[in-house]
């Protein structure tokens, strides 16, 4: 009897055990297929249900959903993970993970995603991957539970925290725990501890969490939260000043880049070069072309696009500058105001040429990965592209100084601009030096264009936005003095950024202009005036 019972039980067990795997799979498939028919407003529940299964396959499914790679087959409502392949999509079965052939886009309909869905996916993924063996996955998970706290995940976080060895992940997890604790039903004492952790963390994120917790907090906890808020805000105010300096430096570096080529063509050579902005624009378009070629032919080299574009832009705009000098400007030496007219005409022609060739609309210039995103330095948020641009501007400046001061070419340039006749008598081929100097100034403008393409529009109007500011910088710094341009650019940048929070962007700019006008009254030849009699000539 006992035996029979045992066999029956074993049989029953076998009978249920084998298909139970299958049944779980079936259940998962049903859940996934339900995504295809769900309304956007019900997606939260579907995602939560998927996450609850705890099945490791869910991670890939949710990731695909978040990225918009989940499609339902119109014919039978089956949902697949997809990947772009040509004009059709290659399908992968979400449950078995096997390839399921290809299908044209028209036969599939995308599982719709919106911000709400992406948030739900982020939350779900966070708690699912907290225990992942991959350290980076855990880091990402910790970040996402921190960003979208969910009281139900508290257990999972504490569980993960117990086994976590990595320092960085641990800190994040502790903060996430504190954040989640505040919105949970835990006792006040634990919450007080959490407030302390958050206070130590500081920053905008903590501010946001604490102030949202303030409203629903227990009466006894409120003073703690308020004190923490006050202390964080005080910190923030200090950092805000530092942040302003950083923004000012960054704006200054943009001004420096835009102006530095002009400091040569206008400052050193005395040509009122209204086509300077167009040189910057040509540099930016060179970057665009380089990226187009790389995208279509060598996608792997995309991160190198700027490095490739820099010398090319220098050559292209340098050549255009050379042509300009030889074709037009050399006939106008000694008549600087007439160079204004001719170069204005040239700038119109260049703009319209670009408009005709590339079209009037903005062109897409991508940021290489090393120029995207930001990092935190204390309370400062520093974006990579701005950091690189500051460094690049300084490097260009240093290289130019070196060229002018330490090379024979630079010596000749300085000689020619200071006393043309004397230089000519000493055997310097002055026309040749003029042409090279102008080409150098133009080439540098082109390199500036490569950098500016990273933060601004690449359109035929790009140059116009910088031309006036560039002239202001050169004149403010003192015509003919590169150090003046450097100091001028950075001081105008910082001044602008300190005025902006109080006066607003428009009024701030007007004030800066008025200050420049007043400053020129005080020092009619700019910050670093050239001294001596030559100035009068």
């Amino acid at each position: 009897m006992y035996r029979i019972l045992q066999t029956v039980l074993v049989a029953l067990f076998l009978f249920t055990a084998v298909p139970s795997g299958l049944r779980a799979e079936e259940a998962l498939r049903d859940l996934v297929n339900a995504l295809g028919e769900a309304k956007l407003s019900d997606m939260d529940e579907h995602i939560a249900a998927l996450a609850k299964t705890g099945d490791p396959k869910v991670v890939a499914i949710l990731e695909a959903l978040g990225e918009g790679n989940l499609y339902a087959r119109k014919a039978d409502g089956q949902v697949f993970l997809t990947k772009e392949s040509g004009s059709s999509l290659s399908l992968t079965d979400p449950v078995s993970g096997e390839a399921a052939g290809e299908a044209p886009k028209a036969a599939l309909s995308k599982v719709k995603v919106n911000n709400g869905v992406r948030r739900a996916v982020r939350t779900a993924l966070g708690s699912l991957t907290l225990l992942s063996p991959d350290r980076n996955a855990r880091l990402k998970a910790a970040q996402s539970v921190l960003q979208s706290p969910n009281a139900e995940a508290l257990g999972a976080i504490e569980n993960a925290l117990a086994g976590e060895k990595d320092g960085e992940v641990r800190t994040l997890l502790e903060q996430a725990r504190a954040t989640t604790l505040l919105i949970s039903e835990r006792p006040v004492e634990e919450k007080r501890e959490a407030v302390r952790t958050l206070k130590e963390r500081g920053g905008r994120g903590a501010l946001s969490i604490l102030s949202s917790a303030l409203g629903s907090a227990d009466e006894t906890l409120k003073p703690d939260i308020e004190a923490a808020l006050a202390s964080i805000e005080q910190d923030q105010a200090l950092w805000a000043a530092a942040q302003n300096v950083w923004y000012g430096l960054s704006l200054g570096s943009v001004l420096l880049l835009a102006a530095i080529g002009l400091a040569i063509t206008f400052g050193v050579m005395g040509i009122i070069n209204m086509a300077h902005g167009e040189m910057v624009m040509l540099g930016a378009y060179t970057t665009f072309l380089v990226q187009e070629v790389l995208r279509s032919s060598f996608p792997g080299l995309f991160d190198w696009s700027l490095a490739i574009a820099l010398p090319l832009a220098f050559l292209v705009t340098g050549a255009v500058g050379l042509a300009m000098e030889r074709g037009v400007i050399r006939f106008l030496y000694g008549r600087p105001l007439e160079t204004l007219l001719a170069t204005w005409g040239i700038s119109l022609i260049l703009q319209q040429s670009v408009r005709t060739i590339f079209g009037p609309t903005n062109r897409e210039v991508g940021n290489p990965s090393w120029m995207s995103g930001a990092f935190e330095l204390g309370g400062l948020t520093i974006t990579w592209n701005r950091l690189w641009i500051i460094l690049f501007a300084l490097a260009v400046f240093a290289a130019l100084m070196f060229l002018l001061r330490k090379t024979p070419m630079g010596l000749q340039m300085r000689a020619v601009t200071q006393n043309r006749r004397m230089a000519s008598s000493m055997g310097i081929r002055t026309p040749w030096v003029d042409a090279l100097t102008f080409a150098l100034g133009s080439g540098i403008a082109g390199m500036a264009g490569v950098a500016l393409s990273q933060i601004d529009n690449v359109s035929p109007n790009l140059g116009q936005g910088y031309i006036i500011d560039s002239f202001m910088v050169v004149v403010f710094g003192g015509v003919g003095n590169l150090w003046g341009t450097l100091v001028g650019a950075f001081s105008l940048g910082i001044l602008n950024k300190f005025l902006e929070p109080y006066a607003g962007a428009v009024l701030g700019k007007i004030l800066v202009l008025v200050l420049i006008i007043l400053f020129i009254q005080k020092r009619p030849r700019g910050l670093f005036a050239l001294k001596g009699r030559a100035v009068e000539a």
Binding site: L341, A342, G345, L348, I468, M472, V475, V479, I510, G526
Partner: protein, 386 residues
Amino acid sequence: MITSFLIKSLDRTIVIAVATLLALAILVPALNLLTAPDHPLHVPTYLVSLFGKYLTYALLALALDLVWGFCGILSLGHAAFFALGGYAMGMYLMRQIGARGSYGNPLLPDFMVFLNWKELPWFWYGFDMFWFAALMVVLVPGLIAFVFGWFAFRSRVNGVYLSIITQAMTYALLLAFFRNDMGFGGNNGLTDFKDILGFNIQADGTRAALFAASALALAVFLVITSGIVRSKFGKVLVALRDAESRTRFLGYRVEHMKLFAFTVSAMMAGIAGALYVPQVGIINPGEFEPGNSIEVVIWTAVGGRGTLIGPIIGAILVNGGKSIFTAAFPEFWLFALGGLFVLVTLFLPKGVVGTAQQHVSRRRAYREARGDKDAGLPAAEPMAAE
């Protein structure tokens, strides 16, 4: 004294130019109003307001020529004075709309009503009276030029530095007028004018009268500027243009003279702006665009700097070209315009009129030299001064 000023101011070219302008002031309106539309000599209203606009540009170029051609001050901000005069006139025209605006508010212009302004800003008071607006048309640009010039010339800011800070001035004004909080209608500026001095601004008669007024104003200011540059004062102006330090050492108060010329020129620009606005029907901050001021310089250069007549011709030529090209080759007209500037600076450095005058005087000198060996050299060309 005034008669001697007038007589001095008139030489043959000026007389002919003034006579042409006066003739135009009578003929064009007459042909527009009195002939039937299909008459071969009929001037369509479209051309009347178009040429009316050119004449105001010509007056602006003439104003620039006074300071650039005769005083060596290259102002890259003259369009600002033009726009200020235009705004003063625009404010008068706005107030004339009265309760006929969309919201029927008798006091506030439409743009203030829908942005919930409750009362008229103080600087709009008085603009309902024509005499006050007319006064402001000359006073505001004059005052700004006076203050700006007083500081700049006293500190001996000159050359390129002066050019760039005039550009900074117009740029600052551009940004300021763009601000809606300023109470000048922001980017949209002032539009939808109804009438001027009680006459419907869209009527053919009013347009013809405005054309005549522009031609008359141009003629009057041509005589005045010609009088200024031919007077003793004008000679000193030219002297300080060509050698400022030397003139100063001779005992002239250079900065006062510059200031006078600059202020007069700004007032002329203001009047040009005031005549411009009713003819085009809009004034907005775009007129402060630094590019516009550069264009004025280009008209002057194309026509011939320092010739008085030249800038007038330059303004009409360039703008006429623009009107034709933008319709005939909408995609390529910028090439033509840009090319024109380059070619003129390369091949006609003295501008159309300057080159022609040079040609005429050379021929005359050649003839005289052949006929009379003692006649001496023709008067030296003024040195190019920057």
